[in-house]
């Protein structure tokens, strides 16, 4: 842990410690955070953050993400302050984001924020004297989800390199699949896109693949033969409200449901991931199948977020390895 002498360098150093997007992270940084999360998986309960205050500011409700971050902070001994519902904050009285962030910076050592506006976390990270962790900013980024996805892929495959990753469902609006695609560019993946025409992977992301030497294949069918090539089957929700043509929705909705018999030719190492909540895109019968991994994936969110919080506070992997506060 570093101690900074002057206020200026302290503020600058903390600004750089913010976790706003994963797209900028190097392979080394991603692997470093995975190593950290592995330590937390071994020993999640510690007093490493005793005496620290973590703020969780949810300008848009997201119970799942908030519980995961708050659990991560609590299991490391930090105190948590914040709000879960924007209706109780003064933002509705016209207070600017800046004012809220500056006020909370006086109380907390790190701010976890979710906001409905795109770029809100980036802006907060530029003005706040404490690090900002982006827990989702509108349709833009949700980097802690990507971090837990990477952690889970590594955990199930023993590596992030040279994998066949199948993305299924809403590839147009699904920010998790976009972030995952960009973060995987360091690891020589082959992506497979399986989506209805209306929700196909947008052209800029295909271009991104071409520019970064990422191979991708687009499939029309979603069946046992296609799934046979997958190491990771990443399912997302196909939401009715995304369709301009509801007839089209009715026509395609069942085509992207994963059923147990579709796993008949799957590789042993293949694992099914889903950012949750699931509605009906994965048949419940699959939950007991050894390929199902979405609940473990959600649990990994805890370890990934413990790593993200500690890294933003300047706690190093070395600090964690030498940590004597394990409960």
């Amino acid at each position: 842990m570093q101690i900074f002498n002057t206020e200026g360098s302290c503020a600058r150093a903390f600004m750089n410690r913010s976790f706003v997007t994963i797209a900028d992270h190097s392979r080394e940084k991603i692997e470093y955070l995975i190593r950290m999360a592995q330590e937390f998986e071994r020993h999640p309960n510690r007093l490493l953050l005793q005496g620290r205050v973590v703020a969780t500011l949810f300008f848009e409700p997201s119970t799942r993400t908030r519980l995961s971050f708050e659990t991560a902070a609590n299991r490391l001994g930090a105190r948590v302050i914040g709000f879960a519902d924007p209706k109780v904050t003064s933002g509705t009285k016209g207070e600017t984001l800046k004012d809220t962030i500056m006020m909370v910076s006086n109380y907390a050592d790190v701010i976890v924020m979710r906001h409905y506006l795109e770029g809100a976390a980036r802006y907060a990270s530029e003005i706040a004297p404490v690090p900002i962790i982006n827990a989702g900013d509108g349709a833009n980024q949700h980097p802690s989800q990507t971090m837990l996805d990477l952690y889970t892929i590594n955990q199930t495959q023993g590596t992030l390199d040279n994998l066949n990753i199948y993305l299924v469902g809403d590839l147009k609006y699904g920010r998790t699949v976009h972030s995952l695609l960009m973060a995987m560019r360091h690891f020589n993946p082959t992506f497979h896109f399986i989506a209805p025409d209306e929700l196909a992977m947008p052209e800029p992301y295909k271009q991104y693949c071409s520019e970064h030497g990422i191979r991708y294949v687009e499939h029309q069918d979603f069946d046992a033969d296609v799934i046979a090539g997958a190491d990771i089957l990443y399912m997302t929700r196909v939401q009715r409200e995304r369709f301009t043509d509801l007839m089209e929705y009715e026509r395609v909705k069942d085509r992207y449901l994963l059923k147990l018999d579709m796993l008949s030719k799957a590789r042993d190492n293949m694992r099914i991931l889903h950012p949750l909540p699931r509605v009906n895109e994965i048949e419940y019968a699959i939950d007991d199948d050894p390929h199902a991994y979405y609940f473990q994936q959600a649990r990994n969110g805890l370890y990934a977020r413990q790593a993200i919080i500690c890294d933003s506070l300047g706690i190093t992997l070395e600090d964690i390895m030498e940590d004597r506060t394990i409960i």
Binding site: L97, K98, Y116, E118, G119, Y123, G138, N140, P204
Partner: protein
């Protein structure tokens, strides 16, 4: 403000002393001994440039040539402004409204600088983000764009990552 709308105006700025021996009438109108010439302005951008630089409020002499012949562009416009030099910020704004104009700075009859005004790598507080859900449109703050493709004129919002075409941008 002199307004000349045909090719009687000299299109290259000759720093000739006004009324000096033998200069033609057109040369006298166009000559600038101290100030700024903005050349190669696309004709459809001329009035935006006039508005941007607040030339209508200028008290010094301003000469504007419109629909002039140009080898490079077919037709072009040119503005000559006496006794006025622009800041980098103003030139950055100019590069957004009219990409690749030529800037000529004349001081005491000498051309001291002649260069194209290209888009900078970053645009701070110059243009609006076209994404209504962008933080910059909902918070009192300056916008910030990265110029990702100078040739195509593509800029990306530093905050929300939306890309837009420089031709369609609105100035702040």
């Amino acid at each position: 403000m002199d307004m000349t709308t045909n090719s009687q105006l000299h299109t290259t700025p000759l720093p000739t002393r006004e009324g000096q021996g033998g200069g033609s009438r057109s040369l006298i109108v166009s000559a600038l001994d101290h100030g700024t010439v903005i050349d190669h302005i696309p004709c459809d951008r001329l009035f935006e440039v006039i508005n941007l630089l607040h030339l209508d409020q200028m008290t010094s002499k301003v000469t504007i040539g419109f629909n002039l012949k140009s080898h490079k562009m077919g037709t072009k416009s040119i503005i000559k402004i006496a006794d006025r030099f622009f800041t980098d910020e103003e030139l950055n704004q100019l590069s957004v409204v009219a990409p690749n104009v030529t800037l000529v700075i004349i001081r005491d009859y000498e051309v001291v600088e002649k260069r194209p005004v290209v888009l900078p790598d970053e645009l701070h507080g110059i243009v609006h983000c076209d994404n209504p859900k962008c933080i910059t449109n909902n918070e009192p703050m300056a916008t910030h764009f990265h110029v990702v493709d100078k040739q195509q004129g593509i800029i990306r919002c530093h905050y929300c990552n939306h890309e837009q075409d420089i031709k369609n941008v609105k100035l702040v």
